[in-house]
């Protein structure tokens, strides 16, 4: 699902870039609460794992292939905020080291594969864990369902982004059918791997599963002769109960920004869009979009030769704006973070 350069037009790229930057910024703040000095390497491992898993392309059907996304796994193992960061780092490194997914398409890729999967999976996971009986098998089952749903959800978001800013002449309906169809299948693979991994980890090292924290037994003191005394339990880290409201708000804002931005551009300068769009990543799955009755078909122009220059400018401006927004957010957050973190640095 890695979108290549030139696949999504500039305005949408910029909009998703802003969404991605905001999501990463929020996650950075949230992750401070999720991460202690043991969780940082865990986050790194999750990232490495997702990295490896995303490189496994497996054939799905009709000559197409897909890869796992890993958002659900990340969210469940390290928490939603850190999960977003993990997948974003994976996407960034894939872009920088392997050119997998265009550098200028980072915004689309992060919004789609990091934010969507993580948020969808985590919200669903928490709901299920709340509803299901408090057992370890419930956590495994919940992670299965969360992963299963998160992948087609990302496919839907991809289709939405494509409908808003796709640069190729493949109709949205076809894209939707193909993407969601394929990703339901991939979702099953993802669900299997996610639940098996979570299940295996929870059996051996439940302390590593963010979604299952908070089950500590009281300590005992044993004297040399073998008698034991109970110790009042210390306040166990109540990591489990965390509001996902912020995550949801970010998702909402993201959707609004996207919608607003895109419709503005789509209605005011329909011709410029097409050409401009050369700035997103590549994806195998998108390869099979077929085109048909797209609801947005009118917004997209076939080949508008006279709009080229304006299109190009828009592209450049768009990409620049993505950068500016992203950098701005990062710098602000970083400053604030640096200040906030200072008093506790020695504990990190």
């Amino acid at each position: 699902m890695h979108v290549p350069d030139g696949f999504i037009n500039a305005p949408v790229s910029v909009a998703t870039g802003a969404v991605a930057a905001a999501a990463v910024a929020v996650s950075l703040r949230g992750a401070r609460r999720e991460l202690d000095d043991k969780a940082a390497p865990l986050a790194g491992l999750v990232a490495a794992f997702v990295f490896a898993v995303q490189m496994l392309n497996f054939p799905v059907a009709a000559g197409t292939s897909g890869h796992l996304l890993g958002g659900a796994l990340a969210a469940i193992l390290v928490g939603p905020y850190t999960g977003v960061l993990c997948i974003s780092v994976v996407l960034l490194m894939q872009g920088v080291l392997f050119a997998d997914g265009g550098l200028t398409a980072l915004g689309v890729n992060i919004s789609d594969m990091a934010v969507t999967t993580t948020v969808v999976a985590y919200v669903l996971f928490r709901l299920l864990v709340k509803v299901l009986p408090k057992r370890r098998s419930s956590v495994t089952a919940a992670s299965f369902a969360a992963a299963l749903v998160s992948v087609p959800a990302a496919a839907c978001v991809f289709t939405l982004i494509y409908a808003l800013g796709g640069t190729t002449d493949v109709p949205t309906a076809k894209v939707f059918t193909a993407m969601v169809g394929v990703h339901v299948l991939i979702g099953i693979g993802e669900a299997l791997i996610t639940s098996l991994t979570v299940g295996a980890v929870i059996a051996v090292r439940p302390d590593l599963v963010y979604g299952a924290r908070g089950l500590a037994k009281p300590l005992q003191l044993r004297t040399a002769d073998g008698t034991t005394v109970q110790v009042a339990p210390q306040a166990a880290a109540p990591a489990a109960a965390r509001s996902t409201r912020k995550v949801r708000i970010v998702g909402l804002v993201a959707a609004l920004v996207l919608a607003g931005f895109v419709s503005y551009y789509a209605s005011t300068s329909p011709d410029g869009l097409e050409k401009v769009a050369h700035d997103k990543g590549i994806d195998r799955k998108t390869g099979q979009h077929a085109a048909k009755d797209s609801p947005l078909a009118d917004y997209r122009l076939k080949d508008v030769s006279d709009a080229r220059l304006s299109g190009g400018l828009a592209g450049v401006i768009g990409v620049g704006a993505t950068l500016a927004v992203g950098t701005g957010v990062f710098v602000t957050v970083r400053r604030r973070r640096a200040r906030a973190v200072l008093p506790e640095t020695e504990t990190v």
Binding site: D5, G44, N57, C86, M93, T168, G199
Partner: protein
């Protein structure tokens, strides 16, 4: 254990490109890709010039053409995708050798292929002239939030561990007569994933403990301070500026 050791993409050499500070190189790569992406797809010659720029940098970095080309193979999945596009895209059809192809699909394919390849080439050059550790230092110096740098550096460290453990587990599996062939064995592989995760984590955890025990607090201590001089920035900026010139010319001529 692979923290800062050379990674497989890295190619050791002494060259002006290797010696540039990492943050300059990252910025230059990014600028180059931006310029490439902004180049109009109709300006076919412009992509030739971009490729030439890459070739010049590769020569300066003493990266042999064969090495670069082999690394480009990573792009193959995208090529497959691009090849499909002319068949599925809509729009006017052109007929080549009896095949009915979509014209815009062809342009789309060319667009993705050309820009993708150049992007990959630029990234490969960056990766083959910069050690991972410097790459991370560079990102850090480019103001990437420290938490992201930290996750990235652990990710890279664990990358080695995961590969290594994967290899050991495969050897263990195969010495008991199991080879993965096709869908039937997905179950076994999927079960391995959980075990792989824990094994990798516990191995990496020990490294992390060792680091924490020696005062690691989230950032690698800077032992050799690298600062970029103005001359180095200028030098690094040559690539994106040249690409930008090509890009702008492309817009004016097409």
């Amino acid at each position: 254990m692979g923290a800062g050791h050379a990674h497989k993409l890295y190619r050791h050499a002494r060259s002006p490109v290797h010696e540039l500070p990492p943050h300059c190189k990252i910025a230059a790569t990014f600028g180059f890709v931006l310029a490439v992406v902004a180049t109009p797809r109709e300006a076919v010659w412009a992509f030739g010039l971009h490729a030439l720029l890459i070739a010049v940098v590769a020569a300066a970095a003493r990266v042999p053409a064969g090495f670069l080309l082999r690394r480009l193979l990573i792009e193959v999945p995208f090529v497959a995708f691009a090849v499909l596009m002319p068949f599925v895209a809509q729009g006017e059809r052109v007929h080549v050798l009896g095949l009915s192809l979509s014209e815009s699909g062809l342009w789309g394919a060319w667009n993705v292929l050309a820009k993708g390849t150049l992007g990959v080439a630029a990234s490969v050059l960056l990766a083959s002239t910069t050690e991972l550790r410097s790459l991370l230092l560079g990102l850090q110096r480019l103001r990437m939030p420290p938490l992201l740098v930290q996750i990235a550096s652990f990710m890279i460290r664990y990358g080695d561990v995961v590969t290594d453990e994967m290899r050991r587990m495969r050897i263990a599996r195969e010495s008991r007569g199991f080879t993965a062939r096709g869908v039937r064995h997905w179950g076994v592989l999927a079960t391995s994933a959980g075990a792989l995760f824990i094994r990798s984590y516990e191995r990496g955890e020990r490294v992390h403990l060792a680091m924490v025990s020696r005062g690691y607090a989230g950032t690698m201590p800077v032992i050799d301070e690298v600062t970029a001089e103005r001359a180095q920035w200028t030098y690094a900026a040559a690539l994106p500026l040249a690409a930008l010139a090509v890009c702008l010319t492309g817009w004016m001529l097409t």
